[in-house]
């Protein structure tokens, strides 16, 4: 199985923060436009695969690609 290249800690934080902001905040003009839960779940799944585990945010000292 092909593995993704390691993502540095700073980039991990940025990606999680980015997805949270774009999908969950910002102005809503059309309240009737709701992104499907499945769609959001798929984005978080993509994110999880890319980062190995979003939960590594709880353990920054163990993150892959940390600066020395």
């Amino acid at each position: 199985m092909e593995s993704s290249p390691p993502v540095a800690w700073g980039e991990r934080v940025r990606l999680v923060e980015l997805v949270d902001r774009v999908l969950d905040r910002g102005v809503v003009l059309r309240g009737d436009v709701i992104i499907s839960v499945a769609g959001i779940d798929l984005v978080y799944l993509e994110l999880r695969l890319l980062l190995s585990s979003v939960e590594t945010l709880a353990h920054p000292d163990k993150a892959v690609g940390d600066p020395p």
Partner: protein
Amino acid sequence: MGLYLYCVGRSDHPDPGPQTGIDGAAVRSPEVAGYRVWLSALPASPAASLDRVRSHHAVIERCCAPATLLPMRFGQWFDTEDGLAAALEGRRARLDRGLERVRDAVEFGIRVIDPGFPASAEVPDRSSGRAYLEALARREREATARERRGATVAVALERHLGSCIRAQCARFMTSGALVAAAHLISRHDTGTYRERVRTFEESRPDLRFALSGPWPPYGFVDDEG
């Protein structure tokens, strides 16, 4: 062909120039209902994907570089320009308040992690009714304790940052980080802000911090939730 909306600014907001957005679609910036808006022609409301989330944000980030504007949440798509104009018109008061609130400001995010405060326990299988209910009760107690701890940290952080933040918005998490805080900062205060975050971090060796930003002010666009 409908219109996908990225962000809204005042009519005199500087245009950063040609760019592409979601699925490589060209971004244009007409004036609609008295606002400068940035949008792309898309045949339907796009399904969410990581690439599209990145494209959405990239357009907003570029437009926000010269001056702050209001970022849209992902998925704001309209059949026609008339429909978009009506939606803007119907929310004019809130949009104007939002533009005033975020004027010359950026957002930073801080996730505060407490290695000594584990995430709430998983609920076990339901093979034993008593064990299941006890686990539910334990998880509830742990979640309450985490939220209390997160609130204490958020208050201490806000107090330490003081006048260099315009506003703080804190969310308490049941797993991962204890609290995710967002701060609205005047552009000219970002140096002071970073320094105060650094000194707060130094004063709290029991915690870990993950700072990100500057961001467009996604979390401070609306005062009505």
